[in-house]
């Protein structure tokens, strides 16, 4: 909870209406004014009346709340989702930024590599600054007698239960109902590689073109971790390698180049 905040001084910080900046580049320090606060610009506000009139406005990654609206803390493009039913009834704002280094966030589904066992937890490397801990009971159907068969070096797909900057992250392989819903130990074959976080988010978007085009090439299994790791398995080594190389190259390829490359491959 914060007390009154003084109005930000001029200079580099710009105040602009949030809706005007959607799709534009925003820089850290920019202030985005929300409609509810437009009239009260410059006055001291208590954060109690920060609610938008229609519903709860979701302040997504790259943004923080401040007096008058939202404060940008990462550089990138500002995105908006319009008000609709559901969790973020008042709409959502976030900043699309590009980064390779992953920082654990609660609720993210990630691919981890088991590095060791310590007591009754597994130590899992997720690419962050600390290794995550995964209790052995956090698998579907695991009991004290029936332990999961996890070896050092195995791949785990799980989600973060606890992830903040003060403690080591904790992950689990079951959801809140106790079911695995796709999480758990990833199979033995296949290949793991790393890409940037922006590409992962692009691939996870609904109706992603890249995945659709690739699925017309060969059948394959794909696991995307929000920490930048991708696991691919296709029928043969050659097919797996092709998919790996295309996904890695998608970072720098335009849509036409990608279509050309895929056309060449499916022609072969």
């Amino acid at each position: 909870m914060r007390g009154a905040v003084r109005p930000l001084r001029g200079g580099a910080a710009m105040a602009a209406v949030a809706e005007d900046c959607v799709g534009q580049v925003v820089l850290p320090g920019d202030v985005l004014l929300l409609p509810a606060h437009l009239d009260e610009e410059g006055e001291r506000l208590r954060l109690g009346d920060g609610a938008a009139p229609r519903g709860r406005l979701l302040c997504g990654p790259g943004l923080r709340r401040c007096a008058g609206g939202l404060l940008v803390i990462k550089c990138g493009l500002l995105r908006q989702r319009q008000a609709s039913g559901g969790a973020a009834a008042g709409g959502a704002y976030w900043v699309d930024s590009q980064q390779k280094r992953y920082v654990p966030v609660k609720g993210d589904h990630v691919i981890g590599i088991v590095t060791g066992k310590a007591g009754d937890v597994f130590k899992v490397d997720v690419g962050g600054s600390e290794q995550a801990s995964l209790p052995y009971l956090a698998f579907e159907g695991a009991t004290k007698r029936n332990r999961p068969n996890v070896q050092v070096g195995d791949l785990i797909y799980g989600q973060f239960l606890v992830a903040n900057k003060d403690v080591e992250p904790e992950m689990v392989c079951i959801d809140s109902n106790g079911r695995s819903s796709g999480m758990g130990i990833i199979g033995q074959d296949g290949f793991l590689f790393k890409v940037s976080l922006g590409l992962i988010r692009k691939l996870l978007a609904p109706k992603c073109e890249i995945i659709q085009e690739l699925s017309q090439l060969y059948p394959f299994e794909l696991v995307l971790g929000m920490n930048g790791r991708i696991w691919v398995k296709a029928k043969t080594v050659q097919q797996t390698l092709i998919i790996v190389n295309i996904l890695e190259a998608c970072e720098y390829m335009t849509a036409e180049q990608r279509k050309q490359a895929l056309a060449k491959l499916s022609g072969n």
Partner: protein, 441 residues
């Protein structure tokens, strides 16, 4: 930081792929990655990229007394450093086994092969010789550091120019680059290392292993050769048993690769020489490729500069003006003066406000006592103000004290901690108010 562990499925997949003679990036077993050589603005500075592995080399020279047992030879000094930016597992200051091994290989390749004529580095026998120092820095580790480092080393040595020297009797004159053109080193031949990675007890062989392949290999064979097919050094590590014809086959492959790489190096050196002679652009800035991230693509946006002046004036008008200036020093005794008064110690305040999360504070006025010659003023300045006639102080650090003192001018202080201590302890010390910059959470 700990290195990222290798998962079981990755190592299994890599070994399976190698058994099917497939590599991750689509190369053949005997193929090298792309070698790119780019030169810096100075002589003797170059960056070599072998795929994604990057090594920076810098050569420098100095006149020193020679070693007592070799009075007519110059001194060569080689140093390879694994920068922490190259891979997460590299830590500064930790002498790992890999580092020792790489340094020894570079020394054997470049020093023991006598590729540089050390006799030509002698200026006055027994008194002054040139010491040539080669520094190699690994900037990115994607496998096969030794090859990239040896190419970078020999290219930098070929590219380097030392100052011209003339000896007349007892007099030694070292000419600056403006007086006489610097002189290249005398290099007999160019030894280049080629690495071979072995898998499955020597059954499978890969040239120029990438980082993933290096993690799963059984053993490594490094052969350093020059284009005249002379082997300068050969080293096998990893404890694998190699058969004679395997080694002979590797040396034949090495001869082919070294010939190609030497040609590439000669061409790069010639291009750079031409660019410098014709006055064209040279240096690292010209050789950086443009890789656009197409995930987010935007057309360039025009910036509206119509109201910039008004905005600037508005900012200046809204800023608090500096408060009054005390110009009357009070002389206590000769040598001790007081100008203005210090403000109360706010240590108590500081601890309370550390517990709450207070918002950012504006810069507030302070008084400082200086020597009586200097003018002292109270200044309320925020860092973000940019008045046109004041220098801009940029400091992000919470601990740093940045005080710019100019005689007869306003000292500018940052909003962070400022703690000016008295130089003369006999003078009265005034405590400054300590301020901590708290980021808005």
């Amino acid at each position: 930081m700990k290195a990222t562990p290798l998962s079981n499925c990755e190592s299994r997949f890599l070994l399976r792929a190698i058994q099917e003679r497939k590599r991750l990036d689509g190369r053949q077993c005997y193929d090298y990655r792309n070698v790119r050589v780019s030169f810096g603005a100075d002589y003797g500075c170059c960056v070599v990229e072998l795929g994604k592995t990057r090594v920076l080399a810098q050569v420098s020279c100095e006149l020193v007394p020679p070693k007592p047992n070799r009075p007519t030879e110059g001194i060569l000094f080689f140093n390879l450093e694994l920068s922490p930016m190259a891979a997460p597992g590299f830590e500064p200051g930790r002498q790992s086994e890999l580092l020792v091994k790489l340094n020894r290989l570079i020394e054997r390749c470049l020093r023991d092969s006598k590729c540089i004529d050390t006799e030509s580095l002698c200026v006055v026998a027994g008194e002054k010789v040139w010491q040539i120092r080669l520094d190699l820095h690994l900037l990115n580790h994607d496998g096969n550091i030794i090859d990239a480092a040896s190419i970078a080393g020999i290219v930098a040595l070929c590219h380097f120019r030392r100052p011209d020297v003339s000896v007349q009797g007892e007099e030694v004159t070292v000419y600056t680059p403006e007086e006489r053109d610097p002189v290249p080193l005398s290099i007999h031949h160019m030894p280049i290392c080629v690495s071979f990675a072995f898998f499955q007890q020597g059954t499978y062989l890969l040239v120029d292993p990438s980082e993933r392949e290096e993690r799963v290999m059984d053993g490594l064979l490094v052969i350093a050769m020059n284009k005249h097919r002379e082997i300068c050094t050969i080293q096998s590590s990893g404890g694998i048993m190699l058969v004679k014809d395997q080694v002979l086959r590797c040396s034949k492959i090495t001869a082919v690769k070294v010939a190609e790489i030497t040609e590439l190096i000669q061409k790069a050196l010639e291009n750079d020489q031409k660019a410098r002679k014709e006055g064209g652009k040279f240096g690292f800035a010209e050789s950086i490729p443009n890789q656009k991230i197409t995930a987010f693509k935007m057309d360039s946006a025009a910036v509206d500069t119509n109201s910039v002046e008004e905005q600037a004036e508005e900012i200046i008008a809204n800023a608090d003006p500096p408060s009054e200036v005390f110009a009357k020093p009070i002389l206590h005794t000769p040598g001790t003066a007081q100008i203005g008064e210090g403000i109360e110690n706010s240590w108590g305040d500081l601890e309370e406000s550390e517990v709450e999360e207070a918002a950012e504070e504006e810069g507030e006025s302070e008084a400082a006592a200086f020597e009586c010659q200097k003018m002292e003023t109270e200044d309320t300045g925020t860092m973000r103000e940019t008045k046109k006639d004041e220098p801009i102080v940029l400091s992000n650090s919470e601990e740093e004290e940045v005080v710019i003192l100019e005689p007869e001018e306003l000292p500018k202080k940052t909003r962070t901690q400022t703690n000016l201590k008295q130089e003369n302890p006999s003078k009265r010390a005034f405590n400054k108010r300590r301020k901590k910059k708290r980021a808005a959470h």
